[in-house]
């Protein structure tokens, strides 16, 4: 490792370092800066300035050279990235291309990444249901993996705290599986969604269909929003009407005068000081020049994204921690999870031909977990799943008209109502679903590539059958026609909800982080992205990551002030 001079120590020192600028890195930066800490945010990708660097945000469909489609060349070059639902001609500049950052798939795993300032917060799905004690108590109740060191009451005020800043639209539905939060007015369901809601709630007293709680503003908040209903979020929003690091947390951090943001900075490892038994900084490689620098701080937040955060710890070996920073338990890298999104369902409905809608709503409807909840107990699997769905009328789908004027008229009138549905299944944490450093392959910066060894197992596959069957039954019951309901068999990873590998727990012998996301045995290092998760529920996770991050910063800074770090 490089020679370090004292001058570097002085000029490269900060009160806090945050690794990563995505959804949790942005939050760590905002909270640390607002608490008065001079904070360095290291981002491995390029800079993306809010609005200025959203090149496609205001393009009309005919202004995109391929009208939004991706070409065969891009498809062939990017079998992984292009399999993401949000990847298209108008968004592809926010996704890592397959050849840029190779990794090893021990078993098929599509790892979707966004290496730039803002990370995947630019392209995320924005669905933000709270978790509940059904989730936080699950491992303890069933004797799976280890118990979460927190309960809903610990995170509840932090959900409220982040929701007020993020701006969540939603309805107060009073459902225990997805507790109500600090909501802006909800977006409306359309006619077919309202019909499905009615039929489901009449037939199954313990099931509900609600508008998804979503990080799109229905009211102006600060200098952001409200939503203009263009449904082009993943291009970046010129109105700042959905939450991203770029539109929201990073500007707030910047406004304090305490933020230093360094793009193009690939973190190699965290530097561990054997004397103090703490981290003293991070080692960084310039993405372009490959020059190595060190930055120093008494507080390090690791927010590089689940797999990359754990990779940094694994790559930070010392004589105290030969198997990776803080890894005396041996669990670092293990218990990787992703949601099972393999089920695809939908169908047409012949009704409501005299109803339509106006605007393009950037969210859908949500059917919260109902299995293994209340009286609905299943023999074939543990945990449960939720459904995401959305209805619209087709355009340009005409099968019963010969070509000519009549065909054109049919093409340009709204067609049948139809609805899509996706199951979102919880995945249990398994020791042998894991990531590790490749012994043979390195990346462009000389850092070992990650090997991902992951598969869904019996519990997830049994649940998948029920997702397909129960979803089909609800569609039939609501009068849908031409129903499809099947297992797409898409590889895991495409839930894009990687969780675990540096889990929180109550015991340093079986977990990497304590109840405040603090690394056991390296008390000035915190991990608050998806790596920290002890189980993965079936709700979209980003809101929970954000709440955990704000809570961890609050704890870290109070410990710092007490002289405990």
């Amino acid at each position: 490792m490089p020679y370090i001079n004292n001058k570097m120590t002085k000029t490269n020192s900060y009160d806090a370092i945050v690794i990563g600028s995505g959804i949790t890195g942005g939050w760590a930066a905002k909270e640390l800066c607002e608490k008065g800490l001079k904070t360095l945010v290291l981002e491995r990708g390029r800079n993306v300035d809010h609005v200025k660097d959203y090149p496609t945000a205001l393009k009309d469909p005919w202004e995109l050279p391929h009208r939004g489609r991706i070409t065969q060349k891009v498809l062939e070059d990017n079998p992984i990235a292009s399999s993401c639902y949000a990847f298209n001609e108008s968004t592809e500049h926010f996704f890592v291309k397959d050849q840029e950052h190779p990794y090893v798939q021990v078993k098929p795993f599509h790892w979707i990444r966004g290496y730039q300032v803002g990370g995947k917060s630019l392209t995320w799905g924005r669905w933000t249901q709270r978790w509940s004690d059904l989730d936080f108590e699950a491992n303890a109740r069933e004797g799976i993996a280890v118990d979460w060191p927190i309960r809903y009451k610990d995170i509840e005020p932090w959900y409220s705290y982040v929701e007020k800043f993020v701006g969540i639209s939603g309805n107060r539905d009073g459902l225990p599986q997805i507790p109500d939060g600090e909501f802006q007015p909800p977006m409306e369901m359309n006619c077919l969604e309202k019909h499905l809601k009615k039929r489901i709630e009449e037939t199954y007293p313990d099931r509900n269909l609600v508008i998804s709680r979503t990080a799109n503003l229905t009211q102006r908040t600060g200098n952001r929003g409200p939503c203009q209903y263009r449904d082009l979020c993943a291009r970046g929003c010129p109105y700042g009407a959905y939450f991203s690091s770029n539109s929201s947390t990073l500007p707030a951090a910047e406004a304090t005068g305490n933020l230093t943001l360094k793009p193009d900075s690939v973190v190699h490892s965290i530097i561990y000081d054997e004397q103090t038994q703490k981290a003293k900084g991070v080692r960084v490689i310039d993405a372009h020049t490959k020059k190595i620098s060190e930055y120093y701080s008494n507080l390090v937040f690791v927010n590089a994204g689940t797999i990359n955060s754990t990779m940094i710890l694994l790559n930070s070996a010392s004589s105290r921690f030969p198997d990776g920073l803080g890894n005396h338990s041996g669990v670092l890298g293990h218990y990787l999870m992703d949601h099972n999104y393999r089920a695809s369902l939908g169908g047409f409905h012949e009704g409501f031909k005299d109803r339509y809608y106006y605007g393009r709503r950037p969210t859908g409807v949500y059917l919260p977990r109902f299995r293994n909840f209340g009286e609905d107990l299943q023999d074939e699997y543990l945990r449960g799943f939720a459904f995401a769905a959305g209805a619209s009328r087709t355009t340009g789908y005409v099968t019963d008209q010969p070509f000519g004027g009549g065909y054109k008229e049919a093409l340009t009138r709204p067609g049948e109502w139809n609805l899509w549905m996706t199951g979102m299944g919880e995945c249990l944490p398994y020791h042998d679903n894991k990531i590790s450093l490749s012994k043979e392959k390195t990346d462009e910066w000389g850092i070992p590539q990650v090997e991902i060894d992951f598969e869904f197992k019996e519990n997830e596959l049994n649940m998948l059958k029920d997702i397909v069957n129960s979803g089909q039954e609800m569609l039939e019951n609501a009068g849908f026609k031409d129903i499809y309901a099947y297992d797409t068999n898409q590889p895991p990873g495409l839930g894009i909800h990687e969780m675990g590998t540096a889990r929180m727990g109550r015991d340093p012998k079986t977990s990497v982080l304590n109840g405040y996301n603090q690394v056991w045995g390296v008390k000035n290092v915190f991990i608050t992205d998806g790596a920290c998760m002890t189980s993965n529920a079936c709700q979209n996770p980003s809101l929970t990551y954000m709440a955990l991050t704000a809570r961890a910063v609050d704890y870290a800074v109070s410990e710092l002030k007490k002289g405990n770090l």
Binding site: D60, W62, Y229, F403, G404, E409, T412
Partner: protein, 189 residues
């Protein structure tokens, strides 16, 4: 994309030298993996324009030709499809040219609208029977590809979006359940 830019896109694909489809089919093999392996001459684009205009004619709103669908199809087919579908598309254009001539004794471009309609509606039927027997590794029927591109090209064009359909760039609100009156156009996008 305005017409000039659209032509520029095609010009890039043409790479400066116009090679017509028959030449391609007679053994001029595509460069592997470049996505620029299929070339269309101005005559081909005129034919694509007329095919798409027959399907989606000008009425009280613009048709496919006004929306420059031919040039769009010629630009897209080489880059959107894999090799076997590119070949299917190119061979299909020649087949339309030759089969129409054989059937009616004059070219598609000189055909009566009723002849063109009969011909294309028959092709559309042919796609259905083709698909029923199609094996997974066989190419798509060329007319399925042409129809797909014609529809995509028309419905996402400026003329198609803003005149044949209703396009609101910035809706500003969402109303989930409003009355629909017969004859109202569908929303673009």
């Amino acid at each position: 994309m305005n017409r000039r830019e659209a032509l520029k896109t095609v010009a890039v694909i043409l790479g400066g030298s116009v090679i017509s489809a028959p030449v391609f089919l007679s053994g001029c093999r595509p460069e592997e993996g470049t996505g620029r392996s299929v070339y269309f001459a101005p005559d081909d684009i005129r034919l694509l324009d007329e095919i798409s205009e027959t399907m989606i004619p000008e009425t009280d709103t613009p048709g496919a030709k006004t929306a420059e669908v031919g040039v769009f199809m010629a630009g897209m087919a080489p880059v959107l499809y894999d090799e076997k579908n590119r070949e299917s598309f190119v061979a299909g254009l020649a087949a339309i040219r030759n089969n129409f001539q054989a059937e009616y004794g004059h070219s598609f471009l000189n055909g009566e609208n009723s002849e063109r309609l009969d011909f294309l509606n028959n092709l559309d039927q042919e796609v259905e029977s083709y698909n029923q027997q199609k094996k997974e590794d066989e190419p798509e029927h060329y007319f399925r590809l042409m129809k797909e591109l014609a529809l995509l090209g028309f419905l996402t064009s400026e003329a198609g979006s803003t005149q044949a359909l209703r396009y609101v760039q910035t809706p500003g609100r969402y109303d989930g359940c409003i009355p629909y009156r017969d004859g109202d156009k569908a929303w673009a996008v």
